[in-house]
Amino acid sequence: MKETPLSNCERRFLLRAIEEKKRLDGRQTYDYRSIKISFGTDYGCCIVELGKTRVLGQVSCELVSPKLNRATEGILFFNLELSQMAAPAFEPGRQSDLLVKLNRLLERCLRNSKCIDTESLCVVAGEKVWQIRVDLHLLNHDGNIIDAASIAAIVALCHFRRPDVSVQGDEVTLYTPEERAPVPLSIHHMPICVSFAFFQQGTFLLVDPSEREERVMDGLLVIAMNKHREICTLQSSGGIMLLNEQVLRCSKIAGVKVAEITELIQKALENDEKVRKEGGKFGFAESIANHRITAFRMEKAPVDTSDVEEKAEEIIAEAAPPPEVVSNPVLWTPGTAQIGEGIENSWGDLEDSEKEEEGGGSDEAIVLDSVRVATDVDVPSAGSRDAPIVLSDSEEEDMIILEPGKSPRKVRTQTISAKQEKAPSKKPVKKRKKKRPAN
């Protein structure tokens, strides 16, 4: 299936929201989504959930002959697959670019950083070594696959236990898990990738972009780091120009995030080990809760309503009581009625605030300042509501309502003059900037 196209209005909204430092799910700029790690019954099997992005990791091992030029080292093999259930756009054979990019990044992060001691995987030099294979499957795509995949890979590797082997002279004995407890891999450090998405040519940055944010981003910077603040991999894609202080700042943020994530991983591993030792129940059936379709349960969405309070308090402090909302139409004359807020004529208000002239006087200026904090785009329209409005297209300046039996009265000027009388005394600050005859 083709990917759902991103509409212009979504793109515009997302970019504007990012400029105002707002994200769709209410996170802050440097916030990660909630990370959940759950383990399966086998050693080396785990599912990592980064928000709604889910990656399943499975580690397995096999005794093979080593590579000819590396006779004393074990072999590591990484494979990330984008399952078709992750996103409608993932079809077999369709996602090659993204797949290659992710696989390369994962390999550089895990293999080149030498996080696993490959020498310890050697059994008989030149003949038998362990081949460790890490298979990652993306189960759901909601942005930032690489972070989730790197966490899943390192968690699975830390969780994995390989069968114990003993070498006596020429004899190699491989013990089953029942005979001897399996042995964990020797891992030096845990490299974790942190992604930074850049918008508006590097002006704004977001950590852990979600799927929609990834669609509108200009470029992506991935930094793989461990908790000792050593950078393992650095990759910048998208062709954006980054200044060196931006990259340094990102690396500092990455250091903080990696420390938090490493702590989370350690805790999860310890918990699982404790449960297994105590003989409690472990595995996916226990750790992943059943999602029933009729259950009234949802993760808390951190929607930030604090801004709304500040803004509302400012405005309420200076506002006149809002005009009542009239739900029954007020009939001015047969054929013309009004309904909704205020029963004031707003036919002059146009969508585009640039078209309106600002005719406000000094009293309007005070009004505008307090409101300017809250809204960026709609300020000019506030000022001009009480001032003569010039319609660029229309030939008539005033709207005339013809009433049978009466001389035509000009409604607009009346309201304007009425308001201008009111304005100096009351300083009306109305929260609504755009008014439409019928809401």
């Binding site: 299936m1 083709k2 759902t4 196209p5 991103l6 509409s7 212009n8 209005c9 979504e10 793109r11 515009r12 909204f13 504007r16 929201a17 105002e20 707002k22 769709l24 799910d25 209410g26 379709i293 009729t294 259950a295 009234f296 349960r297 949802m298 969405a301 929607v303 930030d304 309503t305 801004d307 709304v308 309070e309 803004k311 509302a312 807020e341 969508e351 809250a374 809204t375 709609d378 929260k431 609504r432 900037k433 755009k434 809401n439």
Partner: protein
């Protein structure tokens, strides 16, 4: 719900079709057969062997019953094809047996004739626009299907714009076709949706709930902030409020309405109304 599922399983195992009237409001599973009211007598207690002879053997009262979504006609009975609750609506104008349908929940949309949907324009080719509506194929929209459009006066539609229209052709054999005018030639609210605002996706069941008459959620939302909102039956909602913050709050509240009981919802709305 588990009890009714167990009951349903027993009935299926017994192989007897149930009367539709007795299952109203309960969960039905795909594969079940339902009897319409006028057939219940025929299958009643006399089905074992003796059936009372009726003198007008050839004449059977026929009542016209409409099969809604999730049901299919199978001989004289209704065959359930989706799992969900069975609903019935009495005929408004007299005559006919009303409408039966299954209230099911899903996220993936299948185009249905007459549905109003929000689509995204993906391509302009010659005389038609290709509009993605979330179905298996993009729908085609002729440029003449807008109010006031003529060959000289083309509508101002760009790739990536949002369109609110309805389907005139939607079946499994053809590519769906949509228009932005009604049968009288008036736009009636359809056409290109304005530039700002946020588009997001919810389940189809939530859309139907929100579009039901006298929906409480909408009334409460309207009291919170002034807003513009467009619901597409394909699960897409476009919302626009004065500020980005308000728009985000509205989007999050609507997405969460799916999972909240009405008490929780009232709490959230009262909290938002205070702030």
């Amino acid at each position: 719900m588990t009890e009714t599922a167990v009951v349903a399983a027993e009935c299926l195992a017994g192989g007897r079709a149930r009367a539709a009237r007795s299952v109203l409001g309960q969960v039905v599973l795909p594969g079940e057969e339902l009897l319409l009211p006028e057939q219940e007598d025929a299958e009643g207690p006399g089905s074992a062997g003796e059936r009372p002879l009726s003198l007008n053997a050839g004449v059977r009262s026929r009542v016209r019953v409409v099969c809604g979504p999730g049901l299919r006609r199978c001989g004289d009975r209704l065959l359930v094809t989706k799992c969900g609750r069975l609903r019935h609506k009495e005929p408004s104008g007299g005559g006919g047996g009303g409408v039966y349908w299954v209230d099911s929940q899903q996220k993936r949309y299948v185009p249905v004739k007459g549905d109003h949907v929000i689509g995204i324009v993906t391509a302009k080719s010659g005389d038609i626009f290709k509009v993605d509506v979330g179905g298996s194929e993009p729908a085609s929209l002729s440029y003449l299907a807008f109010e006031g459009a003529t060959k000289r006066n083309r509508p101002n539609v760009q790739v990536g714009d949002l369109i609110y229209g309805q389907f005139v052709v939607a079946n499994k054999d053809m590519e769906p076709e949509m228009v932005c005018i009604d049968s009288c030639g008036r736009a009636n609210g359809m056409g290109v949706i304005g530039q700002d605002g946020l588009l997001f996706k919810v389940t189809l069941g939530l859309i139907r709930k929100l579009l039901a008459p006298n929906c409480e959620i909408l009334q409460e939302l309207g009291k919170l902030y002034p807003l513009e909102i467009v619901f597409g039956m394909n699960g897409r909602i476009w919302v626009k409020a004065k500020t980005i913050q308000q728009t985000l709050i509205l989007a999050n509240v609507l997405e969460a309405c799916e999972h909240m009981t009405s008490d929780q919802r009232k709490q959230i709305f009262s909290r938002l109304a205070e702030s």
